[in-house]
Amino acid sequence: MVKNRILVLDDEKVIQQLLVRTFGEDRYHVETAEDSYLALKRMKEEPFDLLITDLKMPGVSGMDVLKEIKSVKPHTEVIVITGYPTIELAVEAVKMGAFDFICKPFDLEQMKTTVGRCLEKQKSDIGRPDQKQDHPVQDETIAAIRKLASEIAHDVNNSLMIILGNAQLSLMEGAKEEDMKNSLKNIFEECQRAKSIIQRQLKFSRPGKGEIKEEE
């Protein structure tokens, strides 16, 4: 059986080793590179099916490697990982042709599923005409990222309203000690709620696209 070839580009040895352990013993051939020059050189010398790359690296960034490899080897799939996620970066990566954008610390099961989906898609794309002008998967991913950003902003705005409003109430002239204690209690509880919102979002839930979701 021909093994899928994966190149892991990350200047962190720990991440390299983790991904080699996860994919190396399976049906994959995994190589690592700790800098972008080396990664680009390897990919130009020999074909790889998939590049898993960090974004932030000394010298040439992961985003530049993504751009370069998509222009010279457009069929190489790319999964971007980063410890400093922003919506702009995620959208840019997907626009540049990345299959997916994963935040560190990532869940290994999630990574396995993503790699599996990515290589499946690549297999089904083989033989099709070049789809450079038409990116339904990317469009869907960008829509999902935008939706996620809007959801996070909505939940955080709601929490901030409670926190700021209660702080403002307790600072108003004539506020009684009991009211102030009550406001502090509300602020405390809201901070706990905000904390759980962030934890839930970090699990990278992906709500459906489209209309306003009803609350459960």
């Binding site: 909505h154 705005n157 901030l160 309203m161 926190i163 409003g165 509300n186 809201e190 979701k213 009803e214």
Partner: protein, 124 residues
């Protein structure tokens, strides 16, 4: 008239309704009635004909835009000013709300004094 100073708040976030009740009720002298869902909110608006409705967007069963549409299409409630107060800072939702004749679209977090001013303006 008594109901002119009444605000009907349709919102299911208890921490927020409690905050607004403390502020608009105790500090600003409005009578605040809170209903946590759209169906009861619409029927309460018809029954109460408040001076103003303060409406959230995301709620169970019926979202705020659906509620706004119902309020504006019923002659009993059509003239009541409706202020949307939501965590969604989203142009598309805002434009939809304004085209459905919302009096104002406010995004949380909002300064309570600004909220007081916008409510006073909508009452006029």
């Amino acid at each position: 008239m008594e109901h002119k100073k009444t605000i009907l708040m349709i919102d299911n976030d208890r921490a927020f309704t409690s905050l607004v009740n403390s502020f608009l009720g105790e500090k600003c002298g409005y009578k605040v009635k809170i209903v946590p869902d759209g169906y009861n909110g619409v029927s309460m608006a018809k029954k109460l004909t408040p001076g103003l409705v303060l409406l959230d967007i995301r709620m169970p069963a019926m979202n705020g835009l659906g509620i706004l549409e119902k309020l504006k299409s019923d002659e009993k409630t059509a003239s009541i000013p409706v202020i949307i107060l939501t965590g969604f800072d989203n142009e598309e939702i805002k434009n939809r709300a304004l085209s459905l004749k919302a009096a104002d679209y406010l995004v949380k977090p909002i300064d309570l004094e600004v909220l007081r001013e916008r409510i006073a303006a909508a009452f006029k």
